[in-house]
């Protein structure tokens, strides 16, 4: 059989944590060879089915290139509407498994060592791994897919799968409890169990068909996918912990990590990512028109319960970040209020008045019966538990980041009155940036005709 013809799919192609994958790593040998031109790899890439590579740059020449292409594939797929998957079709080619596993471990180690587990680079790495696995599964024949699912499930899970085993996946919302079919604490994956315990409850429907629809391969695939993502995340943390004890990280890994950052920065510059060429959204005076519905409700004054949480935990972080550091989640760097507002002028003149006015509009006014809550507002901006905001106290407490939509729904369900924009965001602050960009665009595009029409009327 030709070396590059279609072969049985290796479980390592889907699960880089499998024994097979570990074996590949053990056998690989010297790390320095990752820079060397790899003829086998190039041949695989250029002979991959449905590939459409017409330039040298699109071909990974060595394992280092392959690692970067893995990230580039994900970033482009996510951000570029004209993404051409045929330029990356080798990533779906099962024959690439040996090189791919090495590239995976290189990437994970690079982002862990250089950026740590809570970085944008690590987050994207985990997402990319999940997406790549999903795409690869989609390319397999149904029988192959079922074989692989069965093999991975058998190695990762016991026969009886309790939902409580997935606390970490539920916590990080990689899976949702409502997506699972649960019975007596078990996640139903097995067809026989389904037929015996749930199938009989169905009326006028074929239980076998219902099993395929409700559970089938999808839930198994989802669980495996999310478990591998979680394992990637855990592995990043593990490598990071170990690297903290090492004196000097391998320069190859640091170089790879820098190149990963370059790839992640590309969409901002190339594809008109929201926020302009640098991807940064600068601090600027608040535009209340761009506030999400939940913030507008609190600004009008809370009429029922939840005054304290709405003003202190919800509004204060939102207003302060929206004014001073709107792209905190994108930049992923911790700042203090004074890093952006050194004289605290915006805090004193814009942020606090807005929050205090909202507190006064509550029924009853918040500070009337709970004047101590003023201190809590200062605390949530990082200025400790003091009645006045002073720079010398900054850092005594943490500058709270705004609640996500999920948290708002749990803490303050009465605030969540979603509009169209809400559907595409997960945090009220993202809503603000989104709307702010739209409003600025609308303003910019409506100014010119406005000027003309003024001129025209003057001429008349």
């Amino acid at each position: 059989m030709n070396k590059y013809s279609i072969c049985m799919v290796n479980v390592a192609f889907i699960n880089p944590f499998s024994d097979e994958a570990r074996q590949i790593v053990r056998e690989y040998g010297n790390l320095n060879t990752i820079y060397q031109e790899n003829g086998d790899l190039i041949q695989l890439v250029t002979r991959s089915p449905s590939q459409d590579i017409s330039d040298e740059e699109s071909i990974p020449h060595n394992i280092m290139d392959l690692a970067l292409k893995r990230m580039e594939w994900y970033v482009k797929k996510r951000n570029n509407l004209e993404f051409d998957y045929r330029k990356y079709s080798y990533l779906y080619n099962r024959n690439i498994t040996n090189f791919d596993v090495i590239a995976f471990y290189l990437l994970v180690q690079a982002v862990s060592v250089k950026f740590g587990p809570n970085s944008r680079e690590s987050r994207v790495m985990v997402e990319a791994q999940g997406k790549l696995m999903e795409s690869r599964m989609g390319e397999l024949l149904l029988s192959e897919k079922r074989d692989i699912l069965g093999t991975i499930l058998n190695t990762l899970l016991p026969r009886e799968v309790k939902w409580t085993m997935f606390a970490d996946l539920l916590s990080s919302r990689k899976i949702k409890l409502t997506d699972l079919v649960l019975d007596q604490g078990n996640i139903i994956l097995d067809k026989d169990y389904f037929m015996e315990n749930l199938g009989f409850k169905l009326e006028h429907r074929d239980p076998g068909k219902m099993y395929d629809l409700l559970i089938g391969d999808k839930i198994k695939e989802l669980i495996i996918n999310r478990m591998i993502m979680q394992k990637t995340e855990d592995y990043i943390s593990e490598v990071y912990q170990k690297s903290q004890r090492q004196v000097e990280p391998n320069p190859i890994l640091l170089e790879l990590a820098d190149k990963v950052t370059e790839i992640l920065n590309q969409p901002m510059a190339t594809y008109g990512y929201r926020g302009g060429a640098t991807g940064k959204v600068e601090a600027s005076p608040l535009n209340q028109e761009a506030f999400p519905p939940c913030v507008k409700i609190v600004l009008e004054g809370m009429k029922s319960g939840g005054r304290n949480d709405a003003i202190i935990l919800f509004l204060t972080p939102f207003i302060s970040y929206a004014r001073l550091y709107p792209d905190v989640f994108r930049r992923n760097t911790t700042l203090r209020v004074s890093d952006v507002d050194p004289e605290l002028a915006a805090v004193e003149k814009e942020i606090l008045p807005l929050i205090h006015e909202a507190a006064e509009r509550c029924t009853p006014p918040l500070f009337e019966d709970q004047p101590q809550e003023k201190v809590n507002i200062n605390a949530k901006m990082g200025f400790g538990m003091h009645s006045e905001i002073e720079l010398k106290h900054e850092g005594e407490t943490t500058w709270y980041t705004p609640m996500s939509c999920e948290k708002v729904k749990l803490h303050l369900p009465s605030l969540c009155k979603p509009d169209k924009t809400c559907k595409s965001i997960g945090n009220p602050l993202s809503y603000y940036i989104h709307r702010l960009t739209d409003l600025r665009y609308e303003e910019a595009t409506s100014e010119e005709p406005g000027e003309e029409s003024k001129q025209e009327s003057r001429e008349e």
Partner: protein, 326 residues
Amino acid sequence: MVSDQLLKPATPEERRRYYREEWDVKDIPEFISNSVQKREFGFDHMGRGPNDRYKVFRSMDLLRKFLRYRAPFAAYSSVAFYEKPQRRDGWIKSELVFDVDAKDIPIRECGCQGVCEVCLNQALEIISSLIDTLKGDLGLKDIHVVYSGRGYHLRLFDESVMTMDSDVRGQIVQYLSGAELPRNEYAAEGVTYKLEHFTIPFGYPQVFTDRTRYAILHLTPETQLDEVNQKLLKDVMKNRELLEDNQWGIFRSKIGPQRYLKLIRSIASLNMALVDAKVSIDLKRILRLPSSLHSMVSMKCTEVKNIETFDPFKEAVPKFVYERKS
């Protein structure tokens, strides 16, 4: 019928009488007494909130003396177990708690301003359905029900969930309360089928169906729902009898598919308020101490031994209330 003497605040003298003459430390359930040293206690002495916090008791006898002597307006203990409860430090685990407050039930039949027999009954019905889901779907055990004075607390001691964080607890709340619209499109082998929640008699779709049915059957003409106008509300109330016989398909077609979607979307968001999610996701919350007095309404916070027969107006009324002069 609830007497005029019930649900009125207790005087300081009545509180003292309660703790000296009626209350017994043995009334505190074992789930508290067997972990007293690991919990933080909090007290409200003046009726202004529990601001006497970080209290610890090395034994039940010391707790008994404290309550007898101080006769607080309200007494609380943490749902959390700590290595150092006096500093809320060294968190070990927390009970999983669900708080159903009668006055906050999203659709109340009674329309009363505070709490009454009707909405307390409704709270108990909700608690009962939550227990069914906790046991049947989530397979959880060691569940205790406590009448809090204005509603009910569900307190879970199942070890498999006690170390779970706030985010997982948040997901459990969403599942239990039916706060998320179940998907209605399912695909197999490239073909997509539409399956409404009411055609799937198990798992989350069934939970959602149960909670939605409950909400619809309790709607009143005064109920305000986002996206549901008066005409739709009227049509829903006119046809809701169909749901008592599980005739969801006919009900949906009478309402119309688009309007039905609006209705269930609106009910899903309302369901989130069936339990107070803030309480469930707060790992360091303090909850009213069973057996203590809820002085605002003069009721005893009481562990419910039999949910089928429990009547707060028989089992949770302190003696001093019967001795009040009308």
